[in-house]
């Protein structure tokens, strides 16, 4: 039986876990913790480097690291709000009496905008022949804005035929999908969390020599916010935002 050589970092993690009293764990836990440690430390040191540069220091100082930790801890590791704030919020909320229940047939659901029961896609009809159809087909799926290769090729194909007909009149459009992080305030401070809304920017650029419009889709994740609280964006949010913007844009194209 070969003895597995465990790297020193993993041994450190194992001894930390023993210290904390954790005796049983799956072996992959060590890898996960190591990854987290590397990512977190790199993040802190990156920020510390920025602070050191700002203070015109040549080497990173303890002060810089402390400042970096301070800035990150409040954003990355949120804990539930302190009890007195919760009691205050609860007192305000509990003051209003329970609403009376109106007689109603069928399911009792919140107003439609809070439900997931509405249709989240729209089909456009084929009123223009040939070239325009291609654009519409592409947008009729209710996907969350992440377009895949098949669609790309669809557009290029359509655009090729368009190239022969009318393209010299139009500016080729390039699509870029940029996800911008909204303001994410932590609960300890302000009690509100805004869900980051993806924003789709359409810019018309003129690539010098290419008559073919190739939609360039980029999804750039915000850097530095790697350790967010587990907030997931509701799919419908994205698709409804996307649908509106895209509809607008395609109306413009016609």
């Amino acid at each position: 039986m070969q003895v597995k050589h465990i790297p020193k970092d993993a041994q450190v993690i194992m001894s930390i876990m023993k210290d904390m009293g954790i005796e049983e764990y799956e072996p992959r836990v060590i890898n996960q913790l190591l990854e987290f440690t590397y990512r977190y430390i790199t993040c802190i040191l990156d920020d510390a480097r920025v602070f050191a540069n700002h203070a015109k220091k040549k080497v990173i100082d303890l002060e810089d690291v402390k400042l970096a930790v301070q800035m990150t801890v409040d954003r990355a590791f949120t804990t539930p709000p302190p009890r007195d704030i919760l009691l205050e919020v609860a007192r305000t909320k509990n003051n209003s009496p329970l609403p009376l229940i109106k007689p109603h047939c069928g399911l009792r659901l919140p107003p439609d905008r809070y439900c997931l029961s509405s249709c989240n896609y729209r089909l456009k009809n084929n009123k223009k022949p040939q070239t325009k159809q291609v654009h519409h087909h592409m947008m009729s799926g209710g996907n969350a804005g992440y377009m895949n290769n098949a669609v790309t090729s669809h557009l290029t194909h359509g655009a090729l035929s368009a190239a022969g007909v009318k393209l010299h009149n139009k500016q080729p459009q390039s699509l870029s999908l940029v996800k911008r992080q909204g303001t994410l305030a932590t609960v300890a401070r302000t009690q509100t969390i805004t869900i980051p809304k993806p924003v789709i920017k359409f810019s018309s650029a003129t690539p010098a020599s290419k008559p073919i419009a190739k939609p360039k889709i980029q999804v750039s994740a915000p850097t530095g916010n790697v350790l967010n609280t587990p907030m997931k964006v509701e799919v419908n949010d994205v698709s409804s935002g996307l649908k509106r913007k895209l509809d607008e844009e395609y109306d413009m194209l016609e």
Binding site: K93, L98, L107, P111, P230, M231, K232
Partner: protein
């Protein structure tokens, strides 16, 4: 005689001494103090002490939840008048300023008249994060009874509903066997809440039919007792260790829902009738809406399946709950949302957002319409299906709220938490009306007795504790399990209490005998009752091969259904 009560101050004084040393920068001495005296503290405080021992510098204290709790909340100790006067006298004589300061700042003594408690009584209610409950905490009146059931008439189509009618007045053409069910009038219980204390939805025709059906089944059920133990049917989930997080059986025992760690909810049918989906809108226009069986006609027979999967969550699903009429399902998840699913269209209807941390438990109210959630953010919330925001925020626990349960009259909600207390909350005001300490580890399961007076709670300390809601007293402690208990259930007639645990066993306890012996005692608010001990109440213990028990459910006929996860290795 009094030393046991006096001994209760040792733990909080020790903790605060440690925190003082850390706060003032004496790291070495703090570590020495912990090593010297830490292990002498009681077993149930060791977990907290371990967490505390990781805090050695003042910077560590900032933002650490445990130290914040200790620093900001007083540790509550109940003491008799004699003990308290002796303690005060001693401290003044000896002039121990350090101890005196700590005691004055961080400890709160709730004085009671009477004899000092003995070791056993003290042990019974010790264990919570911040000490015991004060008399003030348990003073409010709790309406633990059940309100009078509305008279339900058997509805043939041509008769008018007569709301006042008694069963025996009905004309002969109705089936005579219905009469005994309706002829007994429940006396109004002084401990029952008035019917309009909390707004509840009116019963629809379908609900009334369901109630009649339930009553009919109830009349056929087996009465359980020490001589007649229930039959147990065990549903084992294979290949599911680490994957299945929760299971739930619907009230009429026809559906089983299982929540998975990879965010799905899967529903099986336990009866020959399969799961059907609703017809599409065009097809629905063609059906006859006045027909008696319109609710059956609107389902599409071609879509019948034995199981269905619901997709939508972004994280492990920690709990599922059926609505009483089985048309809706709630699921709560680590992704901080609670989702309402329709079991007729098999789609997600609403996604309730409010908790900003994982939600550990969700329960539907017995009358429907309301539901309650318990989360990591130390709050429990009361919602209604037609409000997108919670109606009540139940804040007061010092740590995660791990489980929640509605009282049978839907007026109260009980929560169990990682701070090792059980609290009872009033849905109307949102205030807590009972605080019950005694668990020595987080509480994972709660169950109200059938008539509503008693509450059983169980958790990681492998014990089942029984509380009397009239005054919040601990009545009995049932030991025997060797692993955390995750599920409790009372039989439909309230005679047997069952508990299922991770030690792969199901135990049956004789609750009817326990209840008889308990009510005989004369209990008032400040009384310290003797705690009943367990061995004589255990009726049977059933072991499984290696299946941790996830959920217990009694059918309307008192057959016990159990769901468990088989761990092969």
């Amino acid at each position: 005689m009094l030393q046991h009560e006096l001994g209760m101050i040792l733990y909080p004084v020790f903790v605060h001494m440690y925190l003082e040393l850390v706060y003032n920068g004496h790291e070495g001495q703090a570590i020495q103090l912990m090593e010297r005296f830490g292990r002498d503290q009681e077993e149930y405080y060791q977990a907290d002490l371990k967490r505390l021992s990781h805090v050695t510098k003042k910077d560590h204290m900032k933002g650490n939840e445990l130290t914040d709790t200790f620093k900001s909340s007083e540790f509550i100790i109940r003491m008799s008048r004699d003990t308290l006067s002796i303690l005060k006298r001693h401290l003044q004589e000896k002039k121990h300023s350090v101890v005196l300061n700590i005691i004055q700042e961080h400890l709160y003594f709730d004085m009671y008249e009477g004899v000092a408690r003995n070791k056993q009584q003290i042990e019974a209610t010790a264990g919570a994060l911040v000490g015991e409950a004060t008399r003030q905490d348990n003073k409010a009146k709790v309406y633990y009874g059940l309100p009078k059931e509305p008279d339900i008439q058997y509805l043939p189509v041509e008769e008018e509903d007569d709301a006042e009618g008694d069963g025996t007045d009905k004309p002969k053409k109705k089936k005579p066997k219905k009469d005994p069910l309706f002829s007994k009038k429940t006396k109004s219980d002084p401990n029952a809440p008035p019917v309009d204390r909390i707004p509840l939805p009116d019963l629809k025709d379908a609900d009334k039919l369901e109630k009649v059906k339930a009553l009919r089944e109830a009349s056929k059920r087996v009465t359980l007792g020490p001589e007649t133990l229930p039959s147990i049917c065990f549903y084992t989930l294979l290949n599911s260790a680490g994957v299945v997080t929760s299971a739930e059986v619907s009230e009429d025992s026809s559906l089983l829902a299982v929540g998975f760690a990879d965010s799905f909810v899967k529903i099986w049918t336990l009866v020959p009738q399969k799961l059907r989906a609703m017809k599409s809108a065009e097809q629905l226009q063609d059906i006859d809406r006045e027909a008696d069986d319109v609710l059956v006609r609107m389902m599409d027979d071609r879509s019948a399946e034995t199981s269905r999967i619901l997709h939508g969550h972004n994280g492990p699903v920690y709990r599922v709950a059926f609505s009483p009429d089985r048309t809706l399902l709630l699921s709560c998840s680590e992704d901080t949302t609670v989702r309402l699913w329709s079991l007729q269209t098999w789609t997600c209807l609403v996604c309730y957002k409010g908790h900003i941390f994982p939600v550990w438990d969700v329960r539907f109210a017995p009358h429907g319409y309301y539901f309650a959630t318990a989360g990591h953010d130390k709050t429990a919330r009361l919602w209604a299906t037609d409000q997108h925001q919670p109606l009540r925020i139940l804040a007061g626990h010092f740590s995660d709220v791990d489980c929640i349960q509605f009282h049978p009259n839907s007026n109260y909600v009980a929560t169990g938490s990682s701070d090792r207390t059980v609290r009872l909350w009033d849905c109307v005001t949102g205030n807590h009306v009972r605080l019950m300490t005694g668990h020595k580890a987080p509480v994972y399961s709660l169950c109200f007795s059938v008539e509503g007076r008693f509450l059983a709670s169980a958790g990681a300390d492998s014990r089942v504790l029984l509380w009397d809601l009239a005054h919040g007293h601990l009545l009995a402690e049932l030991t025997g399990h060797k692993g955390p208990i995750h599920t409790l259930a009372f039989s439909r007639d309230g005679h047997i209490l069952t508990s299922g645990s991770q030690d792969c066993s199901v135990k049956l306890w004789d609750f009817s005998r326990l209840a008889e012996e308990m009510v005989l005692e004369d209990v008032n608010v400040s009384h310290n009752p003797d705690i009943k001990n367990s061995d004589s109440y255990l009726l049977r213990s059933y072991g499984t091969k290696n299946s941790a028990v996830l959920h217990l459910h009694f059918t309307r006929r008192n057959v016990l259904l159990t769901v468990g996860i088989y761990e092969g290795s």
